[in-house]
Amino acid sequence: MKISYFAKTREIIGRDYDIIHFPTDIRSINDVVKYLSAKGEPYSIAFANQDALRFALDNEMAKSDVSIENIQELAIFPPVTGG
């Protein structure tokens, strides 16, 4: 699965994306965030404040409890500041 990072999140992680094969018990966006945070830095720093993270599954905004089943790409980024 492709995990893309944008803006401050991308800068902390240090790259645009990861390709990760998750264990089968990783089912929701929340599970992904916890799984990666448990790996330590830089994920633990980037994901320290989950309230300040937003997510998109295959280019659609999604809440953190949504399932990642059949999803190609999860994007993780801070609250937007466009306009």
């Binding site: 893309s4 944008f6 803006a7 401050k8 991308r10 998109a56 280019n59 994007a75 980024f77 801070p78 609250p79 937007v80 500041t81 466009g82 306009g83």
Partner: protein
């Protein structure tokens, strides 16, 4: 129906964008331009975006606002990458029969843009350092108020 969407990394002229509406049914055109202003001693603004999502979200926003306000035309232009002081960041315009719809539409569009479009702004300073702009709670509150 006139419908322009442009996501671009080069400067644009809001005046040219405003002139794109030409129809004898149009009685009212409202526009809004957001510009890079000299705050916090910045020398430039850098904008990162999620290309696929941004384009799609702008298209959805146009469709929504056309329906909601019975518009005859709508236009959104948004810059990304590096912007200099004084340059336009975003331009939205709405054309309608009467003035109320066009005016309300640009307020609505800007409120939505602030919270719905995957774009992130970063302030660039003279010494080369930079800082990501934080989302404003007032923008979130306005967005939820619709």
């Amino acid at each position: 129906m006139i419908r322009y969407i442009s996501l671009q990394n080069c400067p644009f002229d809001p005046g040219e964008e405003l002139c794109k509406f030409r129809s004898e049914s149009i009685g009212a055109i409202a526009s809004f331009t957001g510009l890079v202003r000299s705050e916090n001693e910045i020398v430039a603004l850098s904008i990162e975006h999620h290309p696929v999502m941004t384009q799609k979200t702008l298209e959805q926003l146009c469709d929504m606002v056309i329906t909601r306000y019975h518009l005859l035309g709508v236009s959104i232009t948004h810059r990304y990458e590096l912007l200099k002081l004084g340059e336009p960041i975003v331009f939205v315009a709405a054309a309608s029969v009467h003035r109320k719809a066009a005016m309300e539409a640009i307020v609505y569009m800007m409120d939505r843009l602030k919270t719905d479009i995957p774009l992130w702004k970063k302030e660039i300073f003279a010494d080369g350092t930079s800082r990501w702009i934080e989302q404003k709670q007032s923008d979130v509150d306005r967005s939820f108020s619709w």
